[in-house]
């Protein structure tokens, strides 16, 4: 009971800013007043505000590309990262910690400084303004995190599992693909969700490495709403924020099942 109570109280605190977001995104033009942002909205114009945002920035062409990046790049990254984790933790490659730090080292660079050299590289290899180019970037940037989580996850799996599998004569790839990867589904899921969200919300790489509407990710379009020159009304900015967050929220709801049920490792 205490557990529930604490969760409810904390949850309500956490919902307060969310309420601000929803309430003010739902207000009509005359209802919005910066002095009374906590009041319940006197009108429900959320959909109209979203439609307004949609029309202003023409999100249409970007959506397909953004889904492509946000789904494919993390999917590729979790598999590639899991391979690295498998190599280090299960196969126990010599100098494993060194290799691991090398891969994890990819996360320590401040990304802003990578933009200009990447642009030079992309423009000389015809990758500039291609979906493939952005996929490569997003995959690479997601790999260190995936490798980190998967290395730790596989460390927790008893080594006897590996020996038993080898005894059955399965080759390494099969052991990885048929036994270890499915075992790691919750961890893979968590990594996937986080990377999906990161890529979905990315602005930097999208802006610098692409220019066509059908290649550029969605945030490049959305960010233009919130600028001094745009003069966009606050409810429309907030409604746009909600609109572009919907896929991520849906993903959270959809994947909660993975985390609700225990896929206990103990049985192995």
């Amino acid at each position: 009971m205490i557990r529930r109570l604490v969760l409810i109280v904390l949850g309500l605190i956490w919902l307060a800013p969310t309420y601000l977001l929803l309430a003010n995104a739902a207000r009509g033009l005359d209802d919005y007043d910066p002095e009374r942002i906590w009041d319940l909205p006197g009108s429900f114009e959320l959909l109209a505000n979203m439609a307004d945002a949609w029309a202003r920035v023409e999100l249409g062409p970007s959506i397909g590309a953004t889904f492509l990046y946000a789904v494919v790049a993390p999917a590729a990254a979790v598999v590639i990262g899991a391979m690295a984790g498998f190599g280090i933790s299960v196969l126990r490659v010599k100098g494993g910690f060194g290799w691991f730090m090398l891969i994890f080292g990819g996360t320590i660079f401040p990304t802003q400084m990578l933009l200009i050299p990447l642009f030079f590289g992309f423009s000389s290899t015809q990758l500039y303004d291609t979906r493939l180019g952005l996929l490569v970037i997003y995959t690479a940037i997601s790999v260190p995190f995936a490798a980190f989580v998967m290395r730790n996850f596989f460390t927790g799996v008893a080594h006897s599992l590996f020996e038993a599998a080898r005894m059955d004569g399965a080759n390494l790839w099969r052991v990885f693909w048929r036994i270890y990867l499915p075992l790691a589904l919750p961890a893979l899921g968590a990594v996937f969700i986080l990377e999906f969200t990161f890529i979905w919300n990315d602005l930097l790489f999208g802006l610098t490495l692409s220019q066509s509407p059908e290649v550029r990710p969605i945030m490049t379009a959305v960010s233009s709403l919130n600028s001094a020159y745009a003069g966009t009304r606050m409810p429309v900015i907030l409604a746009a924020g909600i609109l572009v967050s919907l896929p991520t929220v849906a993903l959270f709801l959809f994947t909660q099942r993975i985390f609700a049920r225990g896929l206990a490792l103990g049985q192995f």
């Binding site: 910066p34 397909g64 789904v71 423009s123 303004d129 600028s227």
Partner: protein, 418 residues
């Protein structure tokens, strides 16, 4: 397990299907009928597009904007593009030092003939020309122009028996009146537009000093500059400004009548009309009177962003043709009026009487134009100054220290130039 495999297979198929259809970089000299206009005004995408549709009908060249929103990233990207094969057909930039810099490196197409012709047939004016002139030649054309005016809430003014002031004394008296009625006279911010009052007070008291400061011929610690900071501080101390920690958007503040005035470029019209205010009815504009009326002409700050073509543009001819069409009345009519702003082309009729009056006044002999501080100041100094003004707005007592900080950045910059 199966789910993983299916997911992988689907992904692989999707990658192959979609990755192929992104467009590649275009290179070489080619004949173009579709131009890409790179700009840092992503918010104006719809206006750019409507002009692009018009140009296709008019001159057979369509145009599509490629918008950026973060100005520093945009500038770094454009500079980097000069040395790659990904070159913009057209791009926006800023006047002043940052334009001089790329012109001097020989990247920008000369537009001297275009300017001469446009001035002759009345599409451009002599008073804009200096801002596009480097070493006697013209480069780029005006993308947009905006005058920095004082927007005011008309209803608040009427209710308090106030009219747009014609002298500094009247201006301050109006602020006093408003203050005594519990209305904050002016909007203030510590982020980005923190330079607005500095430029206004300086150019209104000593325009010559303003000019020399931007060229590195005067110091931020000079008495004239110190005096301006003291004036600004005294206005803050009198409670003339909003709390910069208040995050209410300026348009909403002006609409509610809690703030009576705000100093912005004429492009701010868009914000006010979108907030539901009617020009001429709910709000108006006036030019801020000089603090020091000596010299006769009222100093007027203006902002003009250039639209440029590279000397080595993918199709230079098409880009130049576009620039030429851009300054003409048909393009300018669409461009200025769709945004509700003024145009650099005097032939363009502006339906909004308030804006029309502003344009007419600005073009008259009573006003002298000065380039906005943001453009007039070299980037490293500007960066230091924006931070210093932001700090000043929060803690006005430290003004001397802030001026010294800016001067240090200025010393660093100008010593490297010489």
């Amino acid at each position: 397990m199966n789910a993983v495999r299916v997911l992988t297979a689907v992904c692989a198929a999707v990658v192959l299907a979609l990755a192929g259809c992104g467009s590649g970089g275009e290179t070489g000299t080619e004949k173009k009928t579709h131009l890409k206009l790179y700009n840092d005004k992503g918010a104006w995408a719809q206006y750019f597009k409507s002009v692009g549709e018009l140009s296709q009908k008019e001159i057979g060249l369509s145009m599509e904007p490629v918008g950026y929103t973060d100005e520093p990233t945009y500038e770094a990207f454009i500079k980097a593009s000069f040395r790659t094969n990904v070159k913009p057909d057209l791009f926006t930039w800023t006047t002043g030092q940052r334009m001089a810099e790329i012109v001097k490196e020989g990247h920008i197409a000369d537009t001297t003939d275009l300017w001469n012709e446009a001035i002759k047939n009345g599409d451009l004016t002599e008073n804009l020309k200096p801002y596009y002139t480097i070493d006697g030649k013209q480069y780029c054309v005006p993308l947009n122009i905006a005058y920095w005016v004082m927007f005011y809430n008309k209803k608040v003014f009427d209710a308090n028996g106030l009219r747009p002031p014609t002298s500094w004394a009247e201006f301050m008296a109006a602020a006093d009146t408003l203050k005594s009625k519990g209305i904050t006279p002016f909007y203030h911010t510590s982020v980005l537009f923190s330079f607005v009052w500095f430029q206004q007070l300086l150019v209104g008291s000593d325009p010559d000093l303003y000019q020399r400061l931007s060229e590195g011929k005067a110091k931020y610690t000079d008495p004239g500059v110190v005096k301006v900071m003291e004036l600004w501080k005294s206005m803050i101390d009198k409670g003339y400004f909003t709390d910069p920690g208040d995050k209410t958007e300026p348009a909403a503040g002006l609409k509610s009548g809690k703030v009576a005035m705000g100093n912005w470029g004429t492009w701010f019209n868009t914000s006010l009309t979108q907030a539901g205010m009617k020009p001429g009815e709910d709000y108006g504009m006036f030019f801020i009177p000089n603090e020091n009326p000596k010299g006769g002409k009222t100093s007027l700050l203006f902002e003009s962003g250039p639209l440029c073509s590279l000397d080595k543009a993918p199709d230079r001819e098409a880009s130049m043709k576009y620039l030429k069409w851009w300054v003409g009345p048909v393009a300018q009519d669409k461009w200025a009026n769709s945004r509700g702003d003024v145009s650099g082309n005097p032939k363009v009729a502006i339906p909004d009487p308030g804006l029309q009056a502003v344009t007419k006044q600005a073009g008259s002999n009573d006003y002298a134009l000065y380039n906005r501080y943001f453009e007039a100041t070299p980037a490293p100094i500007l960066t230091a100054a924006l931070d210093a003004f932001g700090a000043f707005v929060v803690k006005p007592a430290d003004y001397r220290k802030q001026l010294e900080t800016i001067q240090k950045a200025a010393d660093d910059y100008w010593s490297k130039k010489k």
